[in-house]
Symmetry: C2
Subunit: 579 residues, 2 copies
């Protein structure tokens, strides 16, 4: 990983350059945020000529370290106006790393209104016309790419929503079977790729040199310790919670905790929860058979296997993957308790290239505005048609929840920094609210997943209803997460390494084994903090300061059933996050 | 003016209270910005329960000081997210002052989905049901109000766009003939009034005590000096530029200077300028006769009379008033050179309750997005129908230029702090760009009208194409303007008082005569600066800092014909504005 690919969409050039020393030993979110911070003016228009898109595999991607196949995509977000890193687990990350590329940087605006794809092999990159893919759904685009370039290639593809520059558009990477379904979803990076006229990037890793660890033995030792921890922890082991029920195992858990946001965050309890739970998902996969699969994986080397394939009633494949956050957003948050309708909404989002979280929060806000009734699945599906047909309403919805709420004068808009809130009610789970408020990314659960101790009793135990000690809890987890995002690790390894010391040791060993560094445990938090501050500084320059580290006003005066809690963390407490 | 009216739309109460000492001797923008700053949490939702709407006549309103009939409306802006003061010239201001009311404060959210009006006399205020006015155009609403309450009343009314909570909705005050056409237009305060369920305020000034100057003689002396200056200056005298051609006299002047933004700020010159100029307006008024009037006035006591009544071809009244900024925004900026079409667009804006500047900038951006061709007047009128019918496209347009641009991924959006730029190209007139960038209000020409020295050679002479000394020029004018906005003076008195020292003396004498103060000339700037800093502090607390004091990025890299200038004032120079 000592090379950099620089694609200029205005000049139509692709240059392969040596990776500057300052970027060596960095990867994933560390590298993407650093390069965006170095090269993108914080005050630029996200869809203008000065924004860039950076694709960076984690620095462990391409190794045999378990669950290390995540890629970070960075740029200035059209949704939040701040820096953005969105990541996905995909063979694309592993192949890009093994081909020797630390990053692909896409810059400049295409000015000929044509659509292009980037074909990259170990020696060359080439921009090719891709008019045939223009406006095509992500799924079909992925199939066409494998038809043309072969099923050994990896790809990332932009859906029609991204091509239409909609701010809830993500980017779809292929899964091992070639589905364009592994999303770097949040923050509208699909719109950035759309503004550049780039539909897809295809990797041909023939003759890839592979990655070269500094200390193969240490890496191997770390891998083993980490794998042992993963495979012995209740949440992540074979036959454990994630493996058996997918991430949707959380539906019933959050519902019981009164923290499952329902009907646009009007309640923490959803009557129809059990019908869209992980248990219901597993039952459908089992009963319907055929393509239905629990324990699917997003990239080779994953040993948790929390992904799923949801079948139609006749057993044929409907959609992969149906995740907790998607079921929540398009289900409970819209009052929809029909799993087939939710699955179809997920399929539509995936095919259009939409972030499922933002899409569900947006539909919830649209229902709040009176555009449809809560619980009306067919009406929600019609909204997908509006987006696909690029109607005026589609252009409203496509810009996300904040935008949709503003269009209709809604006061109950569950966003932070204009990004829709994920699947955990901050009034019922205070720590995750601190993460939503303070994350450089806007409302984002993965940035510092306090749900572990607050709900799952992993990494200690914390009362979700109290704000006590939650600033420190969130900061610690946000630091650690930024480090994992740099390495390319899936955040689900956090469950075992928070509880099992040897697992954490294993992580540090894999990093030192790969990079030849002498990082100690404390460096994980230190480096994570460094990454967060790079991002924070970009945001400050973009005009996003502490006044944006706030929850929506309605959560401060509206009590959430069943615990009847308001958001009570003060501005001063939130501001102490950065001290 | 020692009383305050407090209207609570939730409790449906109207209380008349003594004016607190701290607010005495303040008025207009000074009072509205101070009260908003004191009572409205900067981080509240503009359409939520914690925003307030403050109506405050200038502290000279109700006196015989010439051109002092302006009222300020304040609140947190749904358009900019910052503090807003929008003002209008209207008998309403004079009557409110003479009734003894320093301000009306409207607070709380109506929660019964009904529509109300406030009827206020010298002793009592009462909320009355106004279901019959719900959704009604501003013009017709105004007529119904005079039918019911008599033509001696004054009123402010909210149009259907404000009722629909659209962020480009202003508030219409009556002119002397009862037209609902004198707009406190900018920043979406109509949406705030709409969120509160208040359709109109009606003043019955029977038995009004009148205003009581501290020193009647000094006031009279000041009035005379000011009146003499106004009536002797070329711009403001009888038969002078404004009186003969209305504010639209500027169309040809700005076009010749290469500073008339055309086709969404693509050029500083409009081929069809002469067809929509003040001269063309005067010619139509004269040739068509009938209702056509130049030299109309917005309130009794105005001695400039720059307002107009534009006639249909048959001489019947079409619309009043047709101003420079409206003709520019709905004409040149959209490439429309047909004065009848422009007049109809103005009528539609007035009836819907739209800020004509924001509306024209929005249509320009919509044309940029490809929704219509530049120059297509009927297509622009169709957009008005979309707003009236509250279609999804209407909900996009209704939120203003920034919003419309974002909906369609447009990079050329001429706004500052999300407010559409008025009728002067900042790349061709650098000083006004400094005002746009730094004003607490968002892009606003009235905040510091550098056009006077840069284009009109009033108050000295400055080269419009250079940025030299423009920070100080803008700051000085912004300070002075804030003071005039506090007094209730029309900013057009700035022309004579900048050039004629005795006119300026007259202003200070009227102030001291009214208030009993001992202000010297230097206090004008000092007090103005104090007002600006109250507003700036509100904005900082709302998260609007120096990073928002910026011009749109495209103006930095795109050269504007015919002078081929870019926006070249640096961030550091702009930041020095507040030093």
């Amino acid at each position: 990983m000592d090379k950099l690919v620089r694609v200029n969409m205005k000049a139509k050039t692709v240059k392969i350059e040596p990776l500057p020393d300052k970027y060596k030993g960095k990867g994933g979110r560390w590298l993407s945020s650093l390069m965006v911070s170095d090269e993108v003016p914080a005050d630029c228009h996200p869809l203008g000529p000065n924004n860039k898109l950076v694709f960076a595999p984690g620095f462990l991607s391409g190794t045999r370290a378990p669950n290390s196949g995540r890629i970070s995509v960075g740029g200035k977000s059209p949704l939040t106006g701040g820096i953005k890193e969105a990541n996905a687990g995909t063979p694309f990350s592993q192949k890009l790393a093994r081909m020797g590329y630390a990053a692909i940087v896409v810059e400049g605006l295409n000015d000929d209104d044509k659509t292009y794809l980037l074909k990259l092999d170990v020696k060359n990159g080439e921009l090719q016309p891709a008019e045939n893919l223009k406006g095509m759904g992500a799924y079909e685009s992925g199939r066409k790419i494998w038809e043309k370039f072969g099923d050994k290639t990896a790809f990332v593809v932009n859906g029609p929503a991204g091509e239409a520059k909609m701010a809830m558009a993500g980017l779809a990477f292929n899964d091992p079977e070639g589905r364009a379904a592994r999303y770097a979803g949040r923050g509208g990076l699909g719109a950035v790729m759309g503004s550049k006229g780039l539909k897809a990037i295809i990797l041909d890793d023939t003759d890839a040199p592979g990655v070269k660890p500094a200390d193969e033995e240490l890496l191997r030792s770390g891998q083993k310790k980490l794998a042992d921890a993963i495979l012995s922890h209740d949440v992540t082991k074979k036959g454990g919670a994630l493996n058996s029920y997918g991430t949707a195992v959380l539906i019933n858990i959050l519902n019981e905790a009164g923290g499952l946001p329902t009907n646009n965050f009007r309640s923490g309890v959803f009557e129809g929860a059990s019908k869209i739970s992980g248990e219901a998902l597993a039952e459908a996969a089992q009963k319907r058979g055929g393509a239905g699969t629990m324990g699917h994986r997003c990239h080779p080397g994953c040993i948790i296997n929390c992904s799923t394939v949801y079948p139609h009633e006749d057993g044929s494949e409907h959609v992969s993957s149906v995740e907790y956050e998607s079921i929540w957003s398009l289900g409970a948050n819209c009052g929809i308790d029909n799993l087939d309708q939710v699955a179809e909404l997920v399929w539509q989002c995936n095919d259009l290239g939409l972030d499922t979280i933002e899409a569900g929060v947006t539909i919830g806000v649209a229902m709040e505005a009176g555009l449809a009734k809560f619980g009306d699945g067919p009406a929600a599906l019609k909204m997908m048609d509006e987006i696909r047909n690029r109607t005026p309403l589609g252009h409203i919805l496509g810009q996300g929840a904040q935008f949709t709420g503003e269009a209709y004068g809604v006061t109950r808009i569950p966003t932070v920094k204009r990004q829709g809130m994920p699947a955990y009610e901050p009034r019922a789970v205070k720590g995750i609210g601190v993460t939503y408020a303070t994350s450089t990314m806007g409302a984002d659960h993965t940035a510092g997943y306090t749900i572990a101790p607050e709900i799952l009793a992993v990494g200690g135990k914390a009362d979700p209803l109290t704000k006590k000690d939650k600033i420190g809890l969130s900061k610690g987890l946000q630091d650690a997460t930024a480090f994992l995002d740099a390495a390319g690790y899936c955040i689900f390894i956090a469950f075992p390494i928070l509880d099992i010391p040897s697992g954490f040791e294993g992580v540090v060993e894999t990093v030192n084994g790969m990079l030849g560094t002498k990082y100690a445990a404390a460096d994980v938090g230190r480096i994570g903090d460094e990454i967060l501050r790079i991002e924070r500084n970009f945001n400050l320059k973009a005009g996003i300061g502490k006044e944006a580290d706030r929850m929506p006003e309605f959560m401060k005066y509206e009590k959430l059933p069943p615990h009847n809690q308001v958001w009570d963390v003060t501005d001063e407490e939130l501001d102490s996050f950065w001290d």
